[in-house]
């Protein structure tokens, strides 16, 4: 982007229009999520909505790293998992109380923060590209440790536990005149809806916090580091300190999202929190949505989560229709949906490196 474009950008019409479109989409998604229990009343949709909320926060915190600061980390699910396992182990061992969520989750978040700082000062000073490898190694070691210390973590099977009393389906949140659970638009005001709004509001707060960070002076420094590290250092910003700090912030947010996820899901295992597949999901969400735009995370996470459900059905049908050909049905098998997503991902990085939001808003493009 040249200087003249930069200057004329806010005034030019297509850009403003694109920006409006992006924010309109984000607003629609936000409203849909806010009223999800009323709009989509089956169980599966409820799950998808909660998953989207959590992943918006995860993708946004990852965007803070990859999009705003230019750090590529593969340890994001590790921090997510640490928060989730902290809450899960406490809920399992000391009962389903809020105190165990706070104590266990807090401990998990603290561990995540300490580990993030350690990894940060150890490897962020060397070379940005080392960092990707170090975090990848750290994340896979964590995965192995979790599956080996199965007395503590439940190993591959994970941990099943119950959430605090407030979120039990039997809890009566509001009572109607007849002494039964009040129904609003056909939705009973019980523990399930409390659990959903707990997820929604926590994620809203976390997302708001991230959006504040990128708008703050800190966010500007981070973008300066991304664009030209040497120059930022020369101006007097301690690049390593900033990088480590932002890595820690992202880790803490991811761990908090993990705590919320653990409370909602009432199950924590490697597949639901730590696996490399989830890391890929987050990466895809951020890139598809648009790196360096916080709204991109909202769009990417929503699109991916919905696609995961519908693409599989579509591929099932396609595989059935082509079953007479060799190898083709194999490639169209619903289990192979990542293949097509991977191809899409490569094409996207080639042709639209700015992602959906970035392309529409004509900003955030990395050359």
């Amino acid at each position: 982007m040249t200087d003249s474009e930069l200057i004329s950008a806010p005034a030019s019409d297509p850009v403003r229009k694109g920006r409006m479109v992006v924010y309109a989409i984000a607003l629609v998604i936000a409203l849909a999520l806010a009223f999800a229990p009323f709009l989509f009343q089956d169980v599966r949709s409820g799950q998808v909505a909660a998953r989207i909320c959590i992943f918006i926060v995860l993708a946004a915190s990852y965007d803070l790293l990859i999009g705003y600061t230019g750090i590529v980390s593969f340890a994001h699910t590790m921090f997510f998992g640490m928060g989730a396992y902290g809450a899960a182990i406490a809920l399992k061992n000391s009962g389903a109380h809020w105190s165990s969520v706070i104590a266990g989750g807090g401990l998990g978040v603290l561990c995540a923060a300490v580990l993030a700082v350690l990894i940060g000062i150890l490897s962020l000073r060397v070379k940005a590209i080392f960092f990707a490898m170090v975090t990848l190694a750290a994340a896979s070691v964590m995965l192995v440790l979790v599956s080996q210390f199965s007395d503590f973590t439940g190993g591959e099977d994970g941990i099943v536990y119950s959430s605090p009393n407030l979120f039990k389906p039997a809890t009566k949140l509001l009572l109607g005149d007849d002494g039964k659970v009040l129904k609003i638009m056909g939705v009973s005001m019980d523990g399930k809806i409390a659990a959903y709004y707990f997820v929604f509001l926590s994620c809203l707060v976390l997302y708001w916090f991230l959006a504040r960070i990128v708008r703050s002076p800190l966010g500007t420094v981070l973008e300066a580091i991304r664009e030209n590290e040497m120059r930022a250092e020369a101006i007097g910003y301690r690049v390593v300190a900033y990088r480590t700090a932002v890595f820690m912030i992202a880790a803490i947010v991811a761990a908090l999202a993990g705590v919320v996820w653990a409370v909602w899901l009432k199950y924590t295992g490697p597949e639901s929190t730590l696996s490399f597949a989830i890391m890929i999901d987050i990466l895809l969400m951020v890139v598809i949505g648009g790196m360096g735009t916080m709204v991109g995370a909202v769009i990417g996470a929503t699109l991916m989560s919905i696609a995961q459900f519908f693409l599989k059905d579509l591929m099932e049908a396609a595989a059935g229709a082509t079953s007479f050909l060799p190898l083709v049905p194999n490639l169209l098998n619903p289990d192979r949906w990542l293949l097509w997503l991977g191809i899409l991902f490569i094409l996207l990085v080639y042709f639209f490196p700015a992602g959906i939001a970035g392309t529409l808003m004509k900003k955030g493009a990395h050359k």
């Binding site: 990859i66 230019g70 590529v72 150890l122 490897s123 000073r125 060397v126 070379k127 940005a128 590209i129 080392f130 990707a132 490898m133 170090v134 990848l136 190694a137 750290a138 896979s140 070691v141 192995v144 440790l145 080996q148 210390f149 490399f276 890929i280 990466l283 890139v287 190898l327 194999n330 490639l331 098998n333 289990d335 192979r336 990542l338 293949l339 997503l341 991977g342 191809i343 991902f345 490569i346 990085v349 080639y350 490196p353 990395h366 050359k367």
Partner: protein, 334 residues
């Protein structure tokens, strides 16, 4: 090295960082306890190290020369392992035959097929996937991750999700028993194959004009270009050889494991990354050193504290990064 202190002096006299694998062996002896177990573990560690070296050297050179970190490297490892296994399965008659010649023919056919695939796929990969994004680390990482996802899925689509058994040639099956020491023959073979590749690489890099160009390119790419050499052609060649070595290492690893799944590439890749970081980017000596350390430590720790074997390599990496942030023997500190 401003003020050489006493311990550093002593350390340099016994060979500096090159002596680390030997030091590790000596330290491990009393911890393991019995000499025969120690010999078995050491041989296993050396063989494992050599196989990891095959896979790591390519990655390290590609990074050193082209400044490209190829996360898709593990795809070549997976493909190498599966192609090797398929060829061995197809030549089952030769594999099981009683004649050493037929055994070796089958084995070399398998390794050759994997390596050839690596060469061709490397060419394709470099031209199609990596060339458009030279000089942009972020997009390189993203693109190669995308390629990794796709190729892992292709492996799953072709060979399925179930573990595939890798037949082992009759002559390499079984062990030599010397006294109360048992040494698997396959491990000896793996060790010498790795050693041969190392010597060949070293000769090419140090004794030929091409090697001179490669080393000069690692040191200062622009200068070499300014002198009128088409460094891009050298890049392609190095990338192809790197991928071929990864596929060869994958085929050997498959035979070593006996049973392979689609996750093989990803699992080995962690070790490869650790090796490249420990050894220092861009140098094959560093890769060899790192690979031997990782192989030996992995085997010793798996025997002494079974639960910590992978974590031990991680700790090793952390310690070495603290001591030498650029790795043990980096080609350049960039």
């Amino acid at each position: 090295m401003a003020l050489p202190a006493k311990p550093a002096d002593w350390f340099d006299r016994i060979g500096g960082v090159n002596a680390l694998p030997v030091l590790l062996m000596i330290i491990a002896l009393p911890l393991v306890g019995s000499t025969s177990t120690w010999v078995t573990l050491t041989v296993a560690g050396l063989a494992m190290g050599m196989m990891i070296f095959l896979m790591a050297s390519g990655l390290s050179l590609v990074f050193g020369l082209m400044d490209v970190l190829n996360f898709g490297h593990s795809a070549f490892i997976s493909f190498g392992a599966f192609i090797g296994a398929s060829v061995l399965a197809a030549l089952a008659a030769w594999v099981g035959a009683d004649s050493a010649i037929l055994n070796f023919l089958a084995l070399f056919a398998a390794i050759g097929a994997a390596t050839t695939f690596g060469l061709i796929a490397g060419l394709f990969f470099e031209r199609v996937i990596i060339k458009p994004v030279y000089g942009d680390h972020l997009r390189q990482i993203l693109i190669t991750i995308g390629a990794l996802i796709v190729s892992e899925q292709i492996v799953l689509a072709i060979w399925g999700g179930n573990p595939v058994a890798v037949p082992r040639p009759a002559i390499l099956d079984g062990s030599w028993i010397i006294g109360d020491i048992a040494i698997e023959i396959y491990r000896i073979f793996a060790f010498f194959l790795g050693l041969a590749v190392f010597i060949a690489l070293k000769l090419v890099l140090n004794r030929t004009r091409l090697g001179l160009l490669i080393r000069a390119g690692v040191e200062n790419r622009e200068m070499v270009e300014a002198l009128g050499f088409k460094i891009e052609r050298v890049f392609v060649l190095v990338f192809m050889v790197g991928s071929a070595l990864a596929a060869m290492g994958g085929a050997m690893w498959g035979g070593y494991q006996g049973l392979i799944t689609g996750a093989l590439g990803g699992e080995v890749m962690i070790l490869v990354f650790i090796v490249v970081i420990i050894g220092g980017l861009g140098s094959i000596e560093g890769s060899l050193l790192g690979a031997l350390l990782v192989g030996l430590l992995g085997n010793y720790v798996a025997f002494i504290f079974p639960k910590l074997s992978l974590a031990s390599n991680m700790l090793l990496m952390m310690a070495i990064l603290l001591w030498r942030p650029w790795g043990l023997r980096p080609a350049l500190k960039r």
